[in-house]
Each structure stands twice: as structure tokens, then as C-alpha cells.
């Protein structure tokens, strides 16, 4: 619990945020993407973090800011080429999270065959709820819900993931070392959509955790 508090207060905040893409079949379909044969991922810097109660900035370079509800996995021990059967022993816990995305910029990056960074890595674009110790959840049976202004937009159970948490962690740690405090966001279900300035976005694991954020203008 102390570790979690420190992680959340950014003292042991880790060095990076790994974000898995296309890990729910219906989400791949809704964006016209194929289901991948192996996990793929991109990386957000820690300047993306915003904690419960904070503000998500609608940066002026986008006209289509989207929410993406994700289960976050908090790394507790350094991991490099740890085999799948041992990865979960390196997990400190979880958090509910929103992989905020500039959808129009992402489309442009894709059509121009460029990296996605400008659409994913902006300040405040990794909204996270409080730390939940690993013992409190089973990674493959977690209900998650995202609401905008009280209306449900995304809702799923992590059992719908194409690649489960141990598979993802093993895959990433083959070539990229994960350090204590690093976060792995594990993909979003269908139902992604726009947020607007003034919206209140709430993320929850019902009965376990909740966090809310306000969308604000880029001044």
C-alpha cells in the first residue's frame, strides 16, 4: 500500500508508459483495423500522467480528442527477458486508465506512415486512477467502465483481451526492460469516442476503484 501511495504520488513513478494497441477484437474492428497476430505497442513519456481529479488538456493542435479506457499494470520489480510463467511476480498492482488520443492526428500519422507520438504523447494524455495492489484483482476478470458526463461509453471485462496480461508483459520485456513504477496500459475495448472541453470523464472498476477528470482548454 505504501508502494502504491508512492507510485501514485510520483515518487516511484517509473520511467515510461507502455501502451498496447488493438488488444480487443471489437475495438480493432471499429477503427477498421485488422486483429494483430502479435501484440503491438507504443510508448508514452511520464509527462503524460494526470491523476484522479486532474485536468486533461484539449491541446490546440487536435480537433478530435478521444478517450480509451484501459487496465494499467504497474511494474514492481525490474523485468528483462523474464519468462511468461514468472512475469506476474513482478507486478505491483493495477490502475484504471485513459489512453487519451488525438484521433485526427493519429489518422494523419498513419496516412503519412509516421510515428504516432504527436497523437499519443502530449501532456496530460495518460489519465490514471489510484493504485490497486495486485492481490486485489485477477488480471483476466476485471470489469471496467468509462463514462462521459455520466453516460456509459465503454464497458468491458479484461477477459475479452486478445493477449492476456502475462502474454503482454513477456512480449514487451523480451526487448525493452521494464522498471519499477513503469506502467503498461493493456489496450482498449470498443466504444472509443470524442471528449469535449468541459466534459467530466469517469473511469471505474466497479466496487474497486474510480477516478474522474475534466477536459480543459489549451491556453
Amino acid at each position: 500500500a505504501e508502494y502504491g501511495k508512492q507510485w501514485y504520488q510520483r515518487r516511484v513513478r517509473g520511467t515510461k508508459i507502455i501502451c498496447i494497441g488493438r488488444n480487443y477484437a471489437k475495438h480493432a474492428a471499429e477503427l477498421g483495423n485488422q486483429v494483430p497476430s502479435e501484440p503491438f505497442y507504443f510508448i508514452k513519456p511520464t509527462t503524460c500522467y494526470v491523476e484522479n481529479g486532474g485536468d486533461i488538456i484539449y491541446h490546440k493542435i487536435t480537433k478530435n480528442l478521444h478517450h480509451e479506457l484501459e487496465l494499467g499494470v504497474v511494474v514492481g520489480r525490474k523485468m528483462s527477458r523474464v519468462p511468461k510463467e514468472d512475469v506476474m511476480a513482478h507486478v505491483a498492482g493495477y490502475c484504471i486508465s485513459n489512453d487519451v488520443t488525438c484521433r485526427d492526428l493519429q489518422e494523419k500519422c498513419k496516412s503519412e506512415r509516421k510515428p504516432w507520438s504527436i497523437s499519443k504523447c502530449l501532456d496530460t494524455h495518460c489519465a490514471v486512477g489510484p493504485f490497486i495492489p495486485a492481490s486485489e484483482l485477477s488480471h483476466n476478470n476485471i470489469e471496467m467502465v468509462l463514462k462521459v458526463n455520466g453516460e456509459v461509453r465503454q464497458s468491458t471485462n479484461t477477459k475479452n483481451m486478445l493477449f492476456d496480461v502475462p502474454t503482454l508483459l513477456e512480449y514487451v520485456n523480451r526487448h525493452i526492460t521494464l522498471l519499477p513504477g513503469d506502467l503498461v496500459q493493456t489496450g482498449t475495448p470498443e466504444g472509443v469516442g470524442p471528449m469535449h472541453v468541459g466534459d467530466i470523464v469517469t473511469l471505474s472498476i466497479p466496487g474497486v476503484s474510480e477516478a474522474s477528470f475534466k477536459i480543459i482548454d489549451d491556453c
Binding site: T15, I43, T47, R113, S117, D123, T177
Partner: protein, 221 residues
């Protein structure tokens, strides 16, 4: 962490341990864009590397099993000394603590696949040991608008460029990034590579330098 009267954080000298990220700029020298068949950009092209990419002078770059075409790209690295967020261009260089000679290691074949599939460049750019860097050089020793960078492989010259050939200058790049991504003390900005990129083999020795200022050596394993 101590800060001087300018607000520059004294940890920047150990930027490899103090910084939070590496922000990289692509296609910033016209002849390099051309050699890879890319159009010249109208705005800086950005991607990031995590700090697990760092290798310091004398260290080893790992040739991953998943690629057959590992490439070197020598770059001037800019070390941030003072937090920068929406700082205007006329003040931005006050936030720079110094520089480091750097190599942006790239899996060229994987990068081509990422471009074909329109996916992120992570597996081409972000693997462990993919950012070898030399020592920290204080800002007064470098003119970012006129600095030579060179790279040799097994003592054979491969790249030799000058930052005056950059499409977007160092101040332009840092101002552009800091509009929407806060830069923190110890963060590194890689500012693009000149022409002459090419493949590495296991066992190669990489020598990267700013002649007369700094040099660093790495081996590929």
C-alpha cells in the same frame, strides 16, 4: 536536487540517470531525407525513446534477434537543464544545459514494416541499448547552429555532417516540442541525422564525435 540562480537543475550532468525521456526528431537533414526516399517535412517529425535505451561511453549496443538490418544514425543530443513548457523561442535556449554526441540506433527493416503497416515505430527505435550517448558537454562549448558531428564504423568514416544543414534548427525544434510536451531537466532531444546512415554488424566498433570537443566508442554485440 539543487538549482542554480538560472533555475538550471544541477542533475543534468548525469542526464542518463536524471532524465525522464528522449525525444527524437526525424528527417532533419535534407540529404538524409533524400537517401531514404522521404519527402522533406513541413514540421518536425517526432518520436520518443525510453531511458532504457541509454548506453554510455564504452558500452555495448545489442543487435536484436528480430532484425537483419541494424543501422547507426549519429545525432547532436541536446540536454535540457530547466523545465520547459510553452516557453517561447526567444527564451528557449535558456532551458538548455548542454549537449551530448548520440547515436539513434534503428532497425531499418522493422521501420520499413512499420511504415508499410502504418504502425508505431516502437520496435524499430525503442529497444534496450538503442541510444548510445557520450559525456555531457556544457552549452557554452557548442554552437548548436554550427557543430560538426561524425561517425565511423571500424575506423571507416560513414557520416560527417554539420548542424548548419538542419532543416529545423535546435531552438526551433525545442520550442516546437515544448508547446505540447513538457521537457524536464535531464531530458535529451535528439536532433536528426545527416546522410550516410548504414548497417552495423555484430562485433563492429562505433566511434561518434564532435571533433575537438567530445568522442565516444561503443561495440555491437
Amino acid at each position: 536536487q539543487s538549482t542554480g540562480s538560472s533555475g538550471i537543475n544541477a542533475e543534468y550532468g548525469d542526464f542518463v540517470r536524471a532524465g525522464s525521456k528522449i525525444v527524437c526528431v526525424g528527417r532533419n537533414y535534407a540529404k538524409h531525407a533524400k537517401e531514404l526516399g522521404n519527402a522533406l517535412p513541413t514540421k518536425p517529425l517526432l518520436f520518443t525513446k525510453p531511458t532504457t535505451c541509454y548506453v554510455t561511453n564504452g558500452g555495448k549496443v545489442k543487435y536484436p534477434t528480430i532484425t537483419n538490418d541494424l543501422h547507426y544514425e549519429v545525432e547532436l543530443g541536446v540536454v535540457i537543464g530547466k523545465r520547459a513548457s510553452q516557453v517561447p523561442i526567444e527564451e528557449i535556449m535558456n532551458h538548455v544545459a548542454g549537449y551530448a554526441i548520440s547515436v539513434d540506433i534503428t532497425c531499418r527493416d522493422i521501420q520499413e514494416d512499420c511504415k508499410k503497416e502504418r504502425s508505431p515505430w516502437t520496435m524499430a527505435k525503442c529497444l534496450d541499448t538503442f541510444c548510445p550517448v557520450g559525456e555531457f558537454i556544457p552549452s557554452e562549448r557548442i554552437d548548436p547552429l554550427n557543430t560538426e558531428v561524425l561517425l565511423k564504423v571500424n575506423n571507416e568514416l560513414k557520416q560527417h555532417g554539420n548542424t548548419k544543414d538542419m532543416i529545423f534548427s535546435v531552438p526551433t525544434l525545442i520550442e516546437y516540442i515544448n508547446r505540447h510536451i513538457t521537457l524536464l531537466p535531464g531530458d535529451l532531444v535528439l536532433t536528426g541525422t545527416p546522410e550516410g546512415v548504414g548497417p552495423l554488424q555484430r562485433g563492429d566498433e562505433i566511434y561518434a564525435a564532435i571533433p575537438g570537443v567530445t568522442e565516444a566508442t561503443f561495440t555491437v554485440e
